[in-house]
């Protein structure tokens, strides 16, 4: 009888512990905010000087509102052998925003614009930092390519860059010719 009581007590303790452990895990999974982040590249080819918008979406999949989220964009150059992070300030891009509150099931859509200033292969990703979560959530890397574009009309620039000094050289030659001619004229008159 005593053994049976002890067995029951042990079973109760085990069950209670199991309920406490798994119950709290389940509770934390259901209560804490679960976020999903995605980024979409604009349709069509991109070239230097364009200011396309990348559509970002942050969704709260949890049961409780997410608060104080920080969302930011990252841009990397994927040129083979020259991969490096790119300073978004030069690209006139909005670098980060703060989302005060994102309700359960809600999605925050946002356009992330930037001015494309250099040709090449790039990748862009969106990151969400939840202050209550240990890890940031990063979207898939969106690769894209920027086609080069000549900004200046080379023919016109070269025409002026070569033509104007040549014109001045011609004028200099004219002045030199005029001066030497009048010098010789005066010299002759003086001799005469």
């Amino acid at each position: 009888m005593k053994v049976l009581r002890l067995k029951r007590l042990a079973l109760t303790i085990v069950l209670a512990s199991a309920w406490l452990i798994f119950g709290s895990m389940a509770a934390s999974a259901g209560v804490g905010p679960a976020l999903r982040v995605s980024l979409q590249a604009p349709a069509g080819a991109l070239k230097m000087g364009d200011t396309p918008n990348f559509l970002g979406a942050v969704t709260n999949l949890g049961r409780q509102p997410a608060q104080g989220l920080v969302v930011y964009l990252s841009l990397v150059s994927l040129a083979p052998g020259h991969e490096h992070p790119v300073d978004l300030e030069d690209w006139s891009a909005q670098k980060a925003v703060r989302l005060d509150r994102l309700n359960p099931g809600a999605t925050d859509f946002r356009n992330w614009g930037m001015r494309l200033i250099a040709a090449g292969k790039y990748g862009v990703a969106l990151t969400v930092v939840d202050p209550r979560e240990p890890r940031p959530i990063v979207s898939d890397l969106v690769p894209f390519e920027i086609q080069p574009k000549a900004t200046l009309v080379a023919g016109r620039v070269l025409l002026v860059a070569i033509g104007e000094p040549l014109l001045i050289i011609l004028l200099l030659g004219g002045i030199f010719f005029y001066n030497s001619r009048s010098y010789h004229k005066h010299k002759k008159e003086g001799l005469g």
Binding site: M48, I117, K149, T151, V157, A161, I162, E164, P165, L172
Partner: protein
């Protein structure tokens, strides 16, 4: 009034009839050509389409104008003194400030010629972009005020110091001092100290005006403070030049 005419004529002739003056314009055109070719070869300069190229070209023109003003201003009285031609000038019925005005007129005329030479380059790099005519107008305004300031300072120093070399080195040092903060870049100049230094520096005020007009498409109301700073400097320098040349010594 008629005694001014031969002096002003002489200053203008140094620019056009003398080969030395024309050689200067050739060098200025070559500098602008080299820069324009550099712009063509750099495809990354499409940051703001052609506006960035126009702004950079306008900055080069402004720096050249200030440099020319310092060199010609240094030569104004000290050069004449070195060549021992100042004494005959002082024997003419025109007084010191009148001589200074004629010399300053010559410097402004050099600037106008440089400005005319620069217009085709500005057109070449920027006519397909925005704010082209505003760039021309504000370059003329800012350039004239900068030339009056730097040319006036160099002339005033030239009236006081004995040698051309001394005035030139002092003038170039001043130009370098005022020009160097601009080289720090816009991000470093965004701080409170940087903004104050920018506002107190006529060269920076001129460049910031061009930046604001050409790149940011901002109107006259945004430029008033900077223009006032440049006008203030120009007036102060002209007053100093007047007092420095009242009693000229050979």
């Amino acid at each position: 009034m008629k005694v001014w005419v031969p002096l002003v004529k002489r200053e203008f002739q140094e620019d056009f009839k003398a080969s030395r003056g024309m050689a200067f314009f050739l060098i200025a055109a070559l500098v602008l050509s080299a820069f324009a070719v550099l712009l063509v070869s750099n495809t990354e300069l499409s940051l703001l389409d052609n506006t960035q190229a126009v702004y950079m070209m306008a900055g080069i023109v402004l720096a050249l104008a200030a440099l020319v003003a310092v060199i010609r201003g240094s030569d104004g009285f000290a050069g004449e003194r070195d060549r021992q031609t100042l004494e005959p000038l002082l024997l003419t019925p025109i007084n010191g400030p009148g001589l200074a005005a004629a010399k300053l007129g010559g410097i402004v005329f050099s600037w106008l010629t440089l400005f005319t030479l620069a217009i085709p380059y500005l057109w070449a790099v920027g006519s397909t972009g925005q704010n082209f005519f505003a760039a021309i107008l504000y370059l003329f305004l800012a350039g004239t005020l900068i030339v009056l300031s730097f040319g006036g300072v160099a002339l005033a120093l030239s009236a006081r110091l004995r040698t051309f070399k001394g005035v030139l080195s002092l003038g170039l040092t001043l130009l370098l001092l005022l020009g160097s903060p601009v080289l720090l870049g816009p991000s470093l100049r965004q701080s409170a100290v940087g903004r104050v230094l920018d506002l107190a520096n006529p060269f920076a005020a001129a460049l910031n005006t061009l930046d604001s007009v050409i790149i940011d498409s901002q109107g006259l109301s945004w430029q008033l403070l900077r223009l006032a700073v440049m006008v203030g400097y120009a007036l102060a320098v002209l007053w100093w030049l007047y007092t420095a040349t009242r009693r000229l010594e050979p």
